[in-house]
Subunit: 468 residues, 3 copies
């Protein structure tokens, strides 16, 4: 028995299945391009063994701990760090057992597919995870992790990753990237400029972040001109560590294009910490336009991840802090939201802005029509809850007819669950090939074209959209 079906995600009808398999066979061994994600550069810089199965696979994976939370498991019992100093589970084997006991909750979810893929193809396991098999799993995986072949760099090479981008804060000194570079290892790992904490007046510690940004760059970040110059300086620094992109996580797609005097006044309030919520939102919108202008100068590709309502539950935020699975999507309006930015720089063919959404309703109504006419826009792949077979299918069905394939940007794994990277890219490749088989089977594309498009979706578009 094997944990995964070799024809998984392909259509069941035999003619379509045969075509999907042929498209997949033609691209399955292409190297992984991972232009956006949250792996730690430190792992590769230090190249230490991963500590244990729970800390590798459970604790950092919000898909997993949120599902267990939904059925009454306390986050602390899964070893999630506490912001309030409270007690958390310290025994990784206990964490693993709790996870194993709830593994049936993931039936039908991408998490199960990703994990089973890793269990089988990375660790060579062929039994289903459950309470009964929990300890055997733990021991086996832990044993693997002790081997050199399972250290970060070895896995990076085994996964056939051509390039992987990390995401680092504006004030990060990029020391691990420096150490990586100094190490002489030839794995290509680049950084990405993610300045949210230095752009969002509502971010905890905003004033300190501005001060730190000033220290690092020698700019007067209490002035609007100095603040912008500091961003420019940091972008250049990030570029020197291979960055080809910036990334912006905003609650909405709102942008603005204020007069300079108004922007200065608004920034002064942000510095003073006196913005109303509306002013803070306007400032974030203004900064998206400023970042786009800088991208036009320095060539960094701009990613906008819009629409997450962060930290939905106050108790969880107080107990555990940010990123604890209580981030819920909300509606956002890209058509009116992006208009000020697009009226400023949207027609520039030299600029690339990659749009992401957590609201599938905007694919057909807003994103595809926008990307299907503005030369600066490309659509990022389905994100977060929608990084899945259904998510990818719906995305392709919703956007292709309006903006085609060539206004999309390939796949992102967007993960800190390092071992899931091959599985995630595999799901995307299979899902795209399944869609292409349907197009060919229903006379909407020629077979030869589908082979070309499969290659683009897997490899070409990610490299070109991100200048990698």
């Amino acid at each position: 028995m094997s944990l995964t079906d070799p024809d998984r995600l392909f259509p069941v009808e035999p003619r379509l299945r045969g075509m999907a398999r042929a498209f997949y066979d033609s691209i399955k061994d292409l190297p992984i391009i991972s232009p956006h994600g949250h792996c730690e550069p430190r792992w590769f810089a230090e190249n230490k063994r991963f500590p244990n199965p729970a800390e590798l696979l459970v604790v950092p994976d919000h898909y997993l701990f949120r599902m267990l939370a939904s059925q009454g498991v306390a986050l602390a019992d899964l070893g999630l760090p506490r912001a309030d100093g409270g007690v958390t589970e310290q025994d990784p084997r206990q964490i693993w057992r709790r996870f194993a006991a709830h593994y049936h909750l993931f039936r039908g979810t991408p998490s199960a597919m990703w994990l089973d893929h890793s269990f089988e193809h990375l660790f060579g396991i062929d039994d289903v995870l459950s309470t009964d098999t929990a300890d055997a799993y733990y021991d086996h995986i832990d044993d693997c992790l002790g081997q050199d072949a399972f250290r970060p760099r070895a896995l990076f090479e085994r996964f056939n990753v051509e390039v992987l981008a990390t995401t680092d804060a504006a004030t990060d000194d990029l020391r691990w990237h420096q150490q990586l570079r100094d190490s002489g290892w030839d794995g290509r790992i680049v950084t990405t400029y993610r300045p949210d904490a230095a752009i969002d007046p509502d971010f905890p510690g905003f004033a300190d972040t501005l001060a730190r940004l000033g220290e690092i760059t020698g700019e007067d970040t209490s002035s609007w001109a100095g603040y912008l110059a500091a961003h420019r300086a940091r972008r250049a620094y990030f570029k020197s560590f291979g960055a080809t992109a910036t990334d912006h996580g905003h609650a909405s797609a709102r942008t603005a294009d204020l007069l300079r005097a108004d922007a200065e006044t608004l920034f002064a309030k942000a510095v003073a910490g006196t913005c109303t919520p509306e002013e803070a939102d306007l400032f974030r919108g203004q900064m998206l336009t400023e970042m786009a202008r800088m991208s036009l100068d320095d060539g960094l590709v701009m990613q906008i991840h819009a629409g997450s309502r962060r930290n939905h539950n106050a108790d969880i935020f107080a107990r555990h802090g940010r990123d604890m699975g209580f981030d819920i999507p909300g509606r956002t309006d890209y058509v009116e939201g992006l208009k000020p930015l697009l009226n400023t720089v949207g027609l520039e063919a030299g600029l690339t802005i990659i749009l992401f959404t957590l609201d599938e309703t905007v694919y057909g109504r807003e994103l595809a029509p926008l990307a299907g006419v503005y030369p600066s826009l490309r659509l990022g792949p389905p994100w977060w809850f929608f990084d899945s077979f259904e998510g990818i299918s719906k995305f392709r069905r919703a956007v292709t007819e309006t903006c085609g394939f060539y206004n999309t940007a390939g796949f992102n794994d967007d993960t800190r669950a390092f071992c899931s990277i091959p599985a995630r890219h595999d799901v995307a490749r299979r899902s795209d090939c399944a869609y292409l088989a349907e197009l060919v089977g229903t006379g909407r594309m020629r077979e030869a074209e589908a082979f070309e498009v499969a290659h683009e979706l897997t490899y070409g578009l990610a490299k070109s959209a991100y200048n990698l």
Copy 2:
């Protein structure tokens, strides 16, 4: 010839069809759990014969009369009661003939599937309903209804209903439930606490309802404390008649958590009838949170049916009153709407709140992410216009990847069309099995798991979510 296809709703591809049939065969004979609906307890208490085919099948079914209205048939010509004292059709055979003449309108709709199922499996008919067959249908069904085997209790048993919940107003004396209990019949019929008329300041007769609530409970329902105490008393009374749940039909999912003094002030306005529309909405939102708190105490499961814009047409409302098919869905925001309630009690594993929607766009964006992390939340099945093959398919496809199967709550028939109950549950069972076959066929679930999940979706989850 038969009216219904024995393989209806299963995928057509032979391998998938075989799997769907196997899953279905394993659960098709399970008893019906009907945890939410609108059957009259009086039917079962009195156990009289149903009067005639039109009053049994057409007059109480809003799906049917709204479709005929859409093609120009006057509601009064279908025997719908008038609020203004105007004339309505009195001859049930004429009503039936009008219905039969328009039966082609239902092609491709769940109504046709439900009716054909009843016609064939309950009444043994195998001709299609039309003007030509209208009278033969009428005579045959009317003849059946005169037989003891077609009385309410006999049908309840024939339908293999393990438990059925009615929905009763807060001020209802539950006399029919009392009579049922006194009768010694062992069919399990429980009540559900539906206090909308006593919670919504905009509901006609709100002041009278409050006064009546005070009389019944002996509480001073003109004070905030007394009003809450009256609700607590009625919930206890409903529990004594088997209630395991409350039900709340609100235009939106808005909730609130006001300071006690503010709630008292707001309630005083509601009592005085001086709420602005915004204040009335806020009051309804506050009461959802109050009901959730009471549920934490008394264990009643809370159902929220949000998003219907009631009585869209003023003329119809004046002529016929409420519930005449002119209730149209609208958008509603669950993420911001539920936040006050969820910040108060959302992390309580001892509380169960079952969410329903008339806006399919919230499944993936809002409901699945919320239910996939909050232990108190479960997702109810597709409701009203979405209680259908497509509705169920879209629901499963939209939510499973994010919140799995175990955060959903099984099926509700939610009907006052008693004879359609077996047909509706059958559609849900078939639709779920079709979805499971696709998951297995595409390697997203194992076959043995699908058998287990099919059982849960049909039986286990409804019983556990509703404490039945």
Copy 3:
């Protein structure tokens, strides 16, 4: 080799494919009913040869030039007219070559399907368009266009068009329609009353349009009564040229039903050019209700095309003017928006209002529930970006269960790309037959019923909904 698959858009599973083909074979040769579109009456009145391949196929097709724009091709390089007097490409062969070089962008889009259909079935070409074949294509098509068999009237007859409606401004003198009538040619081409420029205070030249409307009709269009009378007069004039319908393109579905005095005051502001944006929007909403009232009198069917955010980019608008592909859909609320109109005339069975949307999320939530109960409402087919296989599939899946087939209005091609008309109707016919095959294959409809419904969707419903 042929450019198109004879079984395109049919399901791949053999039993379904056989059924879809059978349904399609029964309706594929029915005449084309084209009740809404943007062909020029002048083409048929003059019956001159079409100038060249680029001006026939590329320049007027916004689907094509917007896709090329999205990949950095300047609109002027495609020969798009400039509003600012700037230079545009004058050589049609260069335009054609640019288009051909980008033809791969259209893989998987309806544009490719429509074009390949025309290339193969109209011009007899069987090579794929590309840089290599661009000149051969150009020469061959240009040669065809010089033949009498490719003149407008000959194509109209070859396309088997039974009736085609043009769309003309309220102030249009309909001279081409007059010339057509005078010509004695028996092709049936009717006009449609499209008064947006005379209704929308924000439309450029609104005051001039009112003045012109006054001159033509002899009414005092500076008074509310005279303005309404002028519309009535023009509607009668359009009726005399065969019009059976009006058409209204509004940014939202908002309607209003003001007191006469308030309407007069609002109109006075519109005349004076002093409306706020909110007042202009209210005025447009009021006029939809006025138009509906006039329809009740004169029997013209009312079409509402709501939801396009026009001229999204200011630079493009300044350079090229309107309708340059930068019109992006947005959300719109039909439930609250249409309420004032529907409360006024919505129950009138003698009135027909056909609703269109650019927001697929409203199909199931708003449009189907509204059309499934209001006798005046019918649903138009998927529009613009959604006039496609996926668009039609999603439409049918979203609305049929709630409002059936008989509350829909057949197909519209809605195009100024005359040669694409047969291809567009063919796609709609195939897509509908594919859907019907699925319904029959899954036991949701009987085969005999599907043949009847296929005929209605292709022919009957468009004729009856539009009184053609």
